[in-house]
């Protein structure tokens, strides 16, 4: 089958990659659509030292079992469900886990993918394939609610107008937070304005240490330092983006201002599916381009270098980017 393989920092298209083999726990899903995430670009820079098939945002059709023939999306953390961490209710932190397309497990930039049946969620008919690809990143945005880091009316500054910043802003605004998105790209901010969300261009913004909550979706090593200029004393900085390697920053402001810095990662798929199905989170305006799977190298480069929001990969399409 066709697969997009990362080895070291080199991505290559493999035409003869071995088909995934179903097991008692894992079933094979034929991929309908996959999405490129900032994490894919970080992996290509050495983050996690991952080697294997890239891709963790996908929708596909289950090939076997009870779900056979149904459209499904899959949670990315493949947990053991037996260790202390799993049993305390934190399976996404299972120390024995593999992670689809990120850690010790092939991903979804392929014709097919093997996924634990426990990780699969059926996609309602009302959601298109294009929308269903967003379940994973939208779930990451809902994780902020699951972590109980905001309340309705909380003043939130979202730093970053990219893919993740966009869906985080939408989820928080829908929850009732007073959201301001700070970004660098007028076109991307316009998408948010179209959703009724307040925005400001970075060059016009003055951080004034008054936000109750700041969400760092910059994807930049300087994100936390920037967030600390926006957050108020006793406020919260939510770190959403993961960056390879080490960062250099002054930590004293965290202590002096008694700020809370909280990491936030994968989230609840059920909430994301419900939010998308109800139209509370809108993702179609975020689709910037579509590439056939075999042009994934171009698609990754396009995502890395162009001011795009979401770029999709389509294993079924044999045409050029649209």
């Amino acid at each position: 089958m066709l697969a997009v393989h990362l080895s070291g920092q080199t991505v290559s298209i493999r035409h003869d990659y071995s088909e995934p083999i179903p097991t008692e726990k894992d079933i094979v899903v034929d991929v309908l659509r996959a999405g490129i995430c900032e994490t894919d670009l970080q992996l290509m820079r050495g983050y996690m030292g991952f080697s294997g098939v890239l891709g963790h945002e996908f929708v596909g059709i289950a090939r076997y079992g009870k779900l056979m023939g149904q459209r499904v999306v899959g949670e990315i953390n493949c947990s053991c469900w037996q260790c202390e961490t799993c049993l305390m209710g934190l399976p996404t932190h299972c120390p024995n886990r593999s992670v689809i397309g990120i850690l010790n497990r092939d991903g979804a930039f392929a014709d097919s993918i093997s996924v634990p049946v426990k990780n699969l969620h059926v996609v309602p008919d009302s959601l298109s394939d294009d929308e269903a690809v967003f379940v994973e990143p939208v779930a990451a945005a809902y994780q902020i609610l699951r972590q109980q880091l905001v309340r309705p009316r909380t003043r939130v500054v979202v730093l970053g107008d990219g893919r993740l910043g966009n869906v985080c802003a939408q989820v928080l605004a829908d929850f009732g937070c007073r959201v301001l998105v700070v970004g660098k790209h007028p076109q991307k901010l316009q998408v948010l304005s179209g959703f009724g969300i307040e925005t400001v261009i970075l060059s016009d913004a003055t951080p004034n240490r008054s936000a109750e909550v700041v969400v760092d979706c910059t994807g930049s090593a300087a994100g936390l330092t920037s967030a600390l200029q926006w957050v108020r004393p006793w406020g919260t900085v939510i770190l959403k983006t993961t960056v390879a390697g080490e960062q250099t920053l002054a930590l004293a402001p965290v202590v002096i201002d008694e700020v809370r810095v909280v990491g936030s990662r994968c989230g609840p798929f059920a909430d994301a599916i419900a939010g998308l199905a109800a139209g509370r989170v809108k993702v179609k305006p975020l689709i910037s381009a579509r590439f056939p799977l075999e042009q994934a190298v171009d698609a990754l480069e396009f995502t890395r270098t162009q001011p795009v929001l979401k770029v999709l990969l389509d294993p079924k399409s044999k045409t050029g980017p649209a």
Copy 2:
């Protein structure tokens, strides 16, 4: 009067420093005893860019007003009590504040000090001068409880067996937490063992990412990186120590493990006085040495280079260190 003055990174003893002048809000306190804190050593390395009289841990006798003749200790943040931050209940974060011996205000390594009357707390007779000097650092330990970062039975690892680590461990153990102190100094760990607190020497300890809460009292730029090796997913790292300049660390583990990193600074004096008076926090075994105030330069150097816990300064004493 005698005063210990920091200018740039140079400390000097001034014999003719101007006496503080009382105002409507500030009264003069004659210092009976002062304590040397890790922050004093950091200030000498350029932290906060402070210039002025050092010292923020003290007990003294109020010279004027209603409190005249009484022994008092003083909160170090001198707030405006009028701004939004003060009015929302966070006066220690007042953006207009000065801080005794740390920011725009002379400190307590002097014969006398000027302190806002609102900052003063009367010391009960049952507390000796030596014990009362510890109210400020013990209050900083109680701040962890005020921030509601632990519960009884919470498993806490305290990193650092120094002054602050010691009192944090005592306050948390007294609150009912299951405390383990990791330190480098057998003698300092022995003081904690004497209080019935579990300890382990760093070289024998294996961080296993299982602590619910880790308190960084290392005073080291590497403290957070170390803490992230001890804390469990969804756990909390409490940053207690402030370090001058920038640190280099990998932030991805904060996101991946969804850890909460919380800064923690000055705390409630009333709780500290009550804890010391009730004997729930014991500080006499922490006193390593005493110097006359005029030997403060030697005392600071002694604190910086020797494996000491608390070093006290005594303006009334004219003899050598004891």
